[in-house]
C-alpha cells in the first residue's frame, strides 16, 4: 500500500504539485504565526508586548488552519477526479473504500511532509518580518526581538501535515465510495449533499452571528474587527460549500442568456454545466472564498478608514494586519484556484480531442471552456459579494451608523477584477494549450 502510494505520487505529478503548493503555503503561514506566538510567550519578551504577540497569531492561525484543510480537501478531490479509472480498477480487484482513502492519505502525508521542510524555514522568515514590522509601528516595543524557538514552528508544520492528511482522507471519500462499475445514482448523490448543506447553513449563520456581535461593542473597540473578520471568513466558507446549488441555480437562470449568445461554445458550456456541474464546482468554491474573504476584509478596512481617518498606532496596525490577512488568504485561494482550473482542464483532454477530431477549432474549444469559467466567476462574484456585504453590515452600522456604508465601491470592484482576471486568464492560457495539443489518438 505504501509503495503503491509512493508510485502514485510519481505518476500523478501535477496533482502532487498542487497538494504540495497548498501545504507549503499553509506551513509557511502557520509556522510564521507559531513563531510570533512563541515570541510572545518567551521569557525575554517584555510584558506589554505579550498580549498582542499571543492573540494576533492565535486568531490568524486558526483561520489559516481551517483554510488549509479546506484547500487540501478540494485539491485532493479534483486530483482524484482524474484518476477514476485507476480507483475503479483498485475497487474492482477488492480494495475497500477505506483502503483507497488510506492510500490517498499516505500519498498526501508524504507530499505534505516534503513540502513542510522548506515551509517551516520560510515560516521563520515570515515570523521575523511580522514581529519587526509590528515593532516599527510602535504597537509593540519589540525589545525582546524575534525568538521563535524550534518547537512552535515545527509543531505548526506537523499540525498542517496532520490537517492535510486528514483533509485527504475526507476529500477522497466521494471518489473512493463510487461504485466500481459506474456513476453514483442520483439518490446517493443527494444523500451525500445533505450534511454539506447543513454544515454550510450553520457556518453562514455562525458567521453572521459573529459579525452581529459587533453591534454591542464600543465603536473604537478592536474586538469589532476581531468578530467581523472571522464572520466574513465563515460566511464565505459556508457560501463556498454551496457551490453546487449556486451553479444549478445559475445554469437555470443564465441558460437562456447563453443560448441567445448563439455561439456553439456558449451552448456547449451551458450543457456541460448542467450535465457535470462537479467539474466546475471547485473553481466556484475557491472563487467564492476569494471574493468573500477579500471583499469582506477590504470593505472593513475601507469603513474603518472612513470612520477614523488615518488613525493612531492601533488603527494603523489593524490596517496592516487586515491587509496582510487579505493578501495571504487571497494568495492562498489563487494558488488553489489556478491549480484546480489547470487540473480540471487537463483532465478533459480526451473530450477536447473528440471535439478536435470532429472539426472543432482550438478557438471554439477554448471559448467553451472560457464560457464555463465565466459562468463560475459570475456565480462566485455574486454570492461572494452578497455574503461579504451581509457580514460587514453590523460593522458599518457600528462604525459609521449607516447600513449603506457596508457597500464600499472601490474595494469591491478591485476584488471582482482580480478574481475574474485570474480565473479567465488561467482558463484561456491552459485551455488554448490543451485544446491545441489534444488530438484524437
Amino acid at each position: 500500500m505504501i509503495r503503491l502510494a509512493l508510485l502514485s505520487i510519481a505518476r500523478h505529478r501535477a496533482g502532487a504539485a498542487a497538494t504540495a503548493l497548498v501545504t507549503l503555503v499553509g506551513v509557511v503561514l502557520l509556522s510564521g504565526m507559531a513563531g510570533v506566538m512563541a515570541t510572545g510567550l518567551a521569557a525575554s519578551t517584555p510584558g506589554d508586548d505579550r498580549a498582542f504577540l499571543v492573540q494576533f497569531p492565535a486568531i490568524l492561525g486558526s483561520w489559516i488552519l481551517g483554510i488549509v484543510a479546506f484547500a487540501v480537501i478540494s485539491t485532493v478531490g479534483v486530483a482524484l477526479g482524474g484518476r477514476t479509472d485507476e480507483i475503479r480498477g483498485l475497487r474492482l480487484i477488492g480494495a475497500t473504500p477505506g483502503q483507497v482513502r488510506r492510500m490517498v492519505a499516505i500519498e498526501t502525508l508524504v507530499i505534505a511532509t516534503t513540502a513542510a521542510v522548506p515551509g517551516v524555514l520560510l515560516g521563520y522568515a515570515l515570523g521575523a518580518v511580522i514581529v519587526t514590522t509590528t515593532a516599527t509601528t510602535g504597537v509593540i516595543s519589540g525589545a525582546g526581538g524575534f525568538v521563535p524557538g524550534v518547537l512552535a514552528p515545527v509543531l505548526a508544520g506537523l499540525i498542517v501535515i496532520a490537517a492535510a492528511t486528514i483533509g485527504a482522507f475526507v476529500g477522497s471519500r466521494e471518489a473512493a465510495n463510487r461504485s466500481p462499475i459506474g456513476e453514483p445514482t442520483a439518490k446517493r448523490r443527494s444523500q451525500a449533499a445533505r450534511p454539506r448543506r447543513i454544515l454550510a447553513g450553520a457556518l453562514i449563520l455562525i458567521g453572521l452571528a459573529s459579525s452581529a456581535t459587533a453591534l454591542v461593542m464600543e465603536p473604537d473597540s478592536v474586538y469589532a474587527t476581531a468578530a467581523t473578520g472571522p464572520g466574513c471568513v465563515l460566511v464565505a466558507v459556508g457560501a463556498a460549500l454551496l457551490a453546487t446549488e449556486m451553479l444549478t441555480l445559475a445554469e437555470r437562470t443564465l441558460l437562456v442568456a447563453l443560448h441567445r449568445l448563439g455561439g456553439v461554445g456558449a451552448r456547449l458550456a451551458a450543457t456541460n454545466i448542467r450535465i457535470a456541474p462537479e467539474r466546475i464546482r471547485p473553481a466556484v468554491t475557491f472563487l467564492t472564498l476569494f471574493v468573500g474573504v477579500a471583499a469582506g476584509t477590504l470593505s472593513m478596512q475601507s469603513i474603518e478608514n472612513q470612520a477614523a481617518g488615518s488613525g493612531d498606532g492601533i488603527g494603523q496596525l489593524m490596517a496592516a494586519i487586515n491587509y496582510l490577512v487579505v493578501l495571504l488568504i487571497a494568495a492562498f485561494m489563487s494558488i488553489a484556484l489556478i491549480n484546480n482550473l489547470i487540473a480540471s482542464i487537463k483532465q478533459r483532454r480526451g473530450e477536447l480531442a473528440v471535439m478536435s477530431s470532429i472539426g472543432a477549432t482550438t478557438g471554439q474549444s477554448t471559448r467553451m471552456l472560457v464560457c464555463e469559467t465565466a459562468m463560475a466567476t459570475i456565480v462566485a462574484v455574486v454570492v461572494g459579494l452578497v455574503g461579504s456585504i451581509a457580514a460587514v453590515i453590523p460593522f458599518a452600522i457600528l462604525k459609521t451608523g449607516t447600513v449603506a456604508d457596508a457597500v464600499q465601491g472601490l474595494p469591491l470592484i478591485a476584488v471582482v477584477i482580480a478574481a475574474s482576471g485570474i480565473a479567465l486568464l488561467t482558463t484561456v492560457i491552459t485551455g488554448k494549450q490543451t485544446a491545441r495539443t489534444a488530438r484524437a489518438v
Binding site: M1, L90, L92, I93, G94, A95, P97, Q99, N177, I181
Partner: protein, 258 residues
C-alpha cells in the same frame, strides 16, 4: 425457503431481476433469471447487444444490487453482503478479467498480480506468483510494466491477477474484445486450460469462436435465458445467434416484446 449448499455448485441465481429506472419507461435488463453454474465449468454467455449480459455478470459478482432475487456464491449470499464484505469477496472469492485490462501502469507485472493479496493484508508468496506467471506464459516479463507489454500479454497479466487468490469463480466480460486474433486465441486457450484444471469461469462474449472454447453457452435475450448449448462448436453458436438476432429484429419491427 431452505438453501442447501451443494458442493458441486459454484454459483447460483434465484429469480434474479434487475430493472433500471431512468425516469421514462423502466428497462427490464434481467427478468427472473435462474442459473446454476457447476464447479469447474467454463460457461459462455451470449446474446444480442442490450440483452442483459453485463448486467447479469455485475449482479452475479456483487458489483451491482439486483432489484430482486438472490445470488449464492459458495456458501455466501452475495445479495445480502454490505460494501465491505463485497470488496473482501472480490479479493478472495472472485476474479475479474475485463476488455480493458484494468492494470495499474505504475506497478510491475508481478506487483499488479499480487495486489489483491496485499489488499487482503497478506504477504504474497513470491515463488507462487512466479509459478502463476509462468503458467500464463509471462515467466520472463515479471519486472516489466503494463505499458511495455502487448495487449494479449496485458490480458494474461489480468488473468494471473484474477487467479492469484484461487477464486471460486472467474468472471470475464469480453476478455478478447480488444485483442487481435492471435492474442485472443492465446487468452482463450489459457482459459480453457484453467477450466480443465478445475477453475470455474463465466465469460461474456460476442464471438462464436470464443464461445466455442466453453463447456456450455447460455443465450440471453431481453433479460431471459432463452437457450443453452452444451459442447458448442463455433458453427452451432453462430447459427443460434443469428436466429436470436432475427427474432429480436422481428420483435422490434412489430413492436412486440420477446
Amino acid at each position: 425457503m431452505t438453501i442447501t449448499i451443494d458442493k458441486t455448485v459454484a454459483l447460483s441465481t434465484t429469480a434474479l431481476s434487475c430493472t433500471y429506472d431512468t425516469g421514462g419507461t423502466p428497462i427490464h435488463a434481467l427478468r427472473s433469471v435462474d442459473l446454476t453454474i457447476r464447479r469447474g465449468s467454463f460457461t459462455a454467455i451470449m446474446g444480442p447487444s442490450g440483452s442483459g449480459k453485463t448486467t447479469l455478470m455485475h449482479c452475479a459478482a456483487g458489483l451491482q444490487k439486483p432489484t430482486s432475487g438472490s445470488v449464492h456464491l459458495g456458501d455466501s449470499e452475495v445479495t445480502a453482503l454490505d460494501e465491505k464484505s463485497l470488496a473482501r469477496l472480490r479479493r478472495v472469492a472472485i476474479g475479474f478479467v475485463f476488455q480493458s485490462f484494468n492494470l495499474l501502469p505504475a506497478l510491475t507485472v508481478i506487483e499488479n498480480v499480487e495486489l489483491p493479496v496485499r489488499l487482503e493484508g497478506i504477504r504474497p508468496d513470491r515463488a507462487a506468483t512466479e509459478r502463476l506467471l509462468a503458467r500464463v506464459g509471462l515467466g520472463e516479463r515479471t519486472s516489466h510494466r503494463p505499458p511495455q507489454l502487448s495487449g494479449g500479454q496485458q490480458q494474461r497479466v489480468a488473468i494471473a491477477r484474477a487467479l492469484i487468490a484461487e477464486p471460486a469463480v472467474v468472471f470475464a466480460d469480453e476478455p478478447t474484445g480488444a485483442l487481435d486474433l492471435r492474442s485472443a486465441r492465446e487468452v482463450l486457450t489459457l482459459l480453457r486450460e484453467l477450466a480443465d484444471a478445475g477453475q470455474t469461469i463465466i465469460m461474456v462474449t460476442h464471438d462464436p469462436a470464443a464461445a466455442a472454447y466453453s463447456d456450455e453457452v447460455l443465450f440471453l435475450a431481453d433479460g431471459r435465458i432463452v437457450d443453452r448449448l452444451p459442447d458448442p462448436t463455433s458453427r452451432d453458436v453462430a447459427v443460434r445467434m443469428s436466429a436470436l438476432l432475427d427474432q429480436a429484429e422481428r420483435a422490434n419491427a412489430t413492436g412486440v416484446a420477446l
